[in-house]
Symmetry: none
Subunit: 160 residues, 2 copies
DNA sequence: ATAATATTAGTCAGGAATGGTCAAATTATG
DNA sequence: CATAATTTGACCATTCCTGACTAATATTAT
């Protein structure tokens, strides 16, 4: 597809590196100049694409010999991360963030694609839309219908 | 006899593209100017003609390099059971009735046990509890945590 | 040791480029 | 005529990109 954003390209570049090693250390200024962007854009990419809900842990150090270390964590093996994930969700979460979490669960094979699709359908914003009139049973109907509609389609994507 | 309105023409145009590729990415403003309509009419066309029930999955992103992605997916062979269930559910359904529907899907082997458990967790009455100050994101957090906890409660392995 | 300087990375706010929502106005349909 | 579908526009939300300023750490000078 059309990955028009530089941020997307930087993301791809970093994930390419991480597909070979579970952990990598980069120099912010080096990546920035490689893609001809200001250094702070690297922070932007990391903050929007390499978060815990995406399955990454990031550490850094400033000063001479400074670095940014990105580690891909395996949700299956790390119960503690799992706890932190639920902790992160807390009392409130938006549709996009929730989708990211489910994507991370899928990529780490905690759930199958069919299961992930059901989860995405369950937390869809159209289903959970709340107005004055809605009752619990109204929302339940929408959530259930949303999940059933998801089942109407074959799983098309890869990831298996 | 139905005179083709602009929305119909836009629909045809998009479906023409989708007849060649299963998936396409458009720029809302580009399509809008091509047909000389306001951008939000593209949303109207998508919301009325490219729905899940019709076999389309739509995703979008805003901001620079934003897009609307439309994917056409194939219906599974036996769709009758879904229609009937959705018809039965209607606009409102209680926890027990919903559980029964999910059990029926499980017994018919439409869903696996893990999938059924996820669905049950999603429509749990504690998750969908609605009071005066709940927001959409509040309910979403409860639904998502409920499903994740269900996954932990079982084995966290897809093949387990 | 301590201070000064150099070398990193982090934060934040703003502007630009998208797409989304909602309801009023208009048009088509039965 | 009554209702549903379409069309429009004002306003909102999100994402990306930049740069000025800040913070932390290492190195060098005194």
């Amino acid at each position: 597809m059309a990955e028009a954003n530089i941020s997307d390209l930087i993301e791809q570049y970093l994930k390419e590196i991480l597909s070979q090693d579970e952990i990598t250390e980069i120099k912010r200024s080096e990546i920035a100049s490689r893609f001809a962007v200001v250094p702070s854009q690297i922070n932007y990419v990391i903050n929007t694409r390499f978060t815990l809900q995406n399955g990454y842990i990031v550490e850094s150090k400033r000063g001479g010999g400074g670095y940014i270390r990105i580690e891909h964590v395996d949700l299956v093996d790390d119960t503690k991360i799992f706890d932190e994930l639920i902790d992160y969700i807390g009392d409130s979460i938006g549709n996009n963030n929730a989708d990211q979490i489910i994507t991370a669960l899928l990529e780490d094979k905690v759930v199958s694609e069919r299961e992930a699709n059901l989860m995405v359908a369950a937390i869809d914003k159209n289903s959970l839309r709340i107005s004055d009139k809605v009752s619990e049973n109204t929302v339940r109907a929408r959530v259930l219908v949303g999940m059933i509609n998801r089942l109407r389609f074959e799983s098309t994507n890869i990831h298996g």
